[in-house]
Symmetry: C2
């Protein structure tokens, strides 16, 4: 099996599932131009999309019914044994000439939000990001709040404004503190930012009062996508005390159209950083059989120019710890729950996952071919892409998430 | 039309819709013992529940289809003209002897969560509550944060753990700061609290980038319910900086089973307090044709003993202002969005809507017949009820919300 050239993405479509051997096989939801009202579950294979329900029906699969829906939710709700059975079947099918009629060229389909979002929670789990934010906003104080190394800090975001990659992002208006007055002024945000994140999609629900221990992470998490947590920094900084971000983030959150099955990232698992102090037992992952980190390398472009390459492997808290924390109070999980890592930032300046850090709150503008950038201008297009090591030297190229800023 | 004795609740069922003339007619979802799997939309009239889809079908109503669902969401999504037409029809029907077969005794039905919650947002709009909380936690600083009088502070809560009245509330576990250590300990919350709130349910959705001005509030809001925002104060105080409440509130939020149509509260509208400073134009309601406050009188009981009588009319920010703020950044509304007022507290000590305030964070225990209370103990049952003036001297008795604390 040949190793794929990581930079030879054009021949593989340059996007999710582009590897030539079927290790990835991400799920999405698509329509075709001749049936624009009929949303179907698709599995990406190279530069084509398999209409997986039609294929399953034709091939007599026992799982055809669960694939006959306009969203992934019924499949996600079916649980890990079904996920594994379907993935195993599709891995076989993509080698059959018989499925040729069920394959659609990627460039002829429209991709949609692939699942109905239940609750959306966002964490704050990069130590480098949290430290930078602390230094920017509280230069005299401790960079990290006292709870930061004891729990993965998180909050609930707005599920109803999670949108699929490609959806235009309308510049939000809101209140911000006027520079020369104790009160606010109103208008379009002047500090529109992005946050490059990795997000996890819950399939299997949980019962009231049930905790999801670290080891049960793969039983509940169906897959992974990339996420852009668009943020209006001026709105956020005026509103966020004492109850956290609200309108500064609720206008739009973009996700990639392809959900990478968790099993496709087996080869990408890496040990997380050493935690000091030791976390409480429900968060202590040192004895877990599988390492909790994932070696996903992100890239952020603004108008096609790479501005950051954040390494997800450097996250202090893992997704399994986030899920264990989210449920430790007995809160239930639902199929479609989405939880995101928080901005991914590494230790190096070019590894910072948001413009707040990259420009040090606008004090150090980025030099882009089209001109300097502090925060985003109308018309700017931001794309977050990512890849991870796959089995046998391959690469799993995650679905990218992109969005263009539109004037208020 | 005789004025109902406000304390003669027993004869009227003592609960929502108990008035003898059909001014209230709240909506719920019920099952009967012989068909426990068949959820149906019900309208409460006195101590009986009208199976409104079956009645609509029998009476040839053009709206029967929209009532043939296990939740209120399709009706809620249909928009205000349909809400008004259905309400008008039901008002007529309850006078017909022909509907007798479609009426079920209230004490023979089981009530369920009446709508699918989309996003749940919670505000912090009582000046008395926010001032008390500030005094308790920041005795040296300003009681209100600097943004408080400029915008209705809010945050997103967990929609998936909104439960119907009567659902047991399992005492949550979590991290809290140890008294004698900088780090946390883990265990069941020792400071389990309630928050008495009034909540609003969105019917008509909005488009991306669309703002909902104050005047459009009745076009989008289907109805009103009571809400108990259960809170673990020790978990909350350790986790909430800098991103707000998370596990301290995400374990359970209880709502009443009856949704009062917004139109049923027309006679309860009252002028809100004077705002100083003047809010920004999108929040300035002085020129609105209808006053934005609602004269809803709440009562909170613990194990049957009244501990507080919070007046909703004293809220600084109205629900219309909350909705205008929530959407001013262009965030969309979905059918089923739920937003709550925040703890309702009045100026007097017995008008405070949570134990944090009522006991001044445990320093001044309440003297209850069963013993002193600071925070809730296992087995405690909390009920929030409320009523508002109806037309012609009647009372609109809102559906109560109750819950019993169960050991972790």
């Amino acid at each position: 099996m040949p190793q794929q050239d990581p930079f030879d993405l054009a021949g593989a479509g340059g996007q999710a599932g582009g590897e030539r051997v079927p290790h990835h096989l991400p799920y999405g939801v698509f329509t075709t131009p001749d049936e624009p009202g009929r949303r179907r579950i698709g599995v990406r294979h190279g530069d084509r999309v398999l209409d997986v329900h039609t294929a399953a029906t034709a091939l007599g699969s026992p799982h055809a019914d669960i694939l006959a829906h306009p969203t992934l939710n019924p499949l996600m709700a079916a649980g890990r044994p079904v996920w594994q059975a379907v993935r195993s079947s599709v891995t076989t099918w993509v080698g059959y000439p018989a499925i040729e009629p069920f394959l659609h060229p990627l460039d002829r389909v429209t991709l949609h939000l692939p699942f109905e979002v239940a609750d959306y929670a966002d964490f704050y789990s990069s130590e480098h990001h949290a430290t930078n934010v602390g230094r920017i906003f509280r230069p005299q104080g401790a960079a990290l709040p006292p709870n930061w190394k004891h729990l993965p800090i998180g909050y609930h975001g707005r599920a109803g404004t999670v949108v699929v990659s490609g959806t235009p992002v309308i510049r939000p208006a809101g209140q911000r503190r006027a520079a020369d007055s104790p009160g606010p002024v109103f208008g379009p945000t002047q500090r529109l930012d992005i946050e490059a994140e990795v997000a996890f999609v819950v399939g299997t629900p949980s019962r009231p009062g049930e905790r999801v221990p670290l080891a049960d992470f793969p039983e509940h998490v169906f897959g992974v996508c990339l996420l852009n947590d668009w943020s209006a920094r001026d709105i956020q900084s005026w509103e966020y005390l004492p109850l956290g971000p609200f309108l500064g983030k609720s206008f739009a959150t973009s996700v990639s159209p392809w959900i990478t099955p968790l099993d496709a990232l087996d080869a990408a698992r890496v040990a997380p950083p050493v935690r000091d102090p030791e976390p409480l037992p429900y968060l202590d992952d040192r004895a877990e059989p599988e390492p909790g980190g994932f070696d996903i390398r992100l890239a952020v472009t603004v108008n096609g120019h790479t501005v950051a390459e954040p390494p997800f492997s450097t996250m202090y808290w893992t997704a399994a710890q986030q899920l264990a924390h989210l449920t430790v109070n007995g809160a239930t999980l639902r199929t479609g729950d989405l939880f995101a890592s928080g901005t991914v930032s590494g230790p190096e300046p070019h590894q910072r996952g948001c413009l707040l850090e990259l420009t040090w709150d606008g004090r150090e503008p980025l030099d882009l071919p089209g001109g300097k950038r502090t925060y985003l201008e109308d018309g700017d297009e931001v794309t977050i892409s990512g890849w991870a090591p796959g089995p046998e030297g391959t690469r799993i190229i995650l679905g990218e998430v992109t969005g263009r800023v539109v004037a208020a």
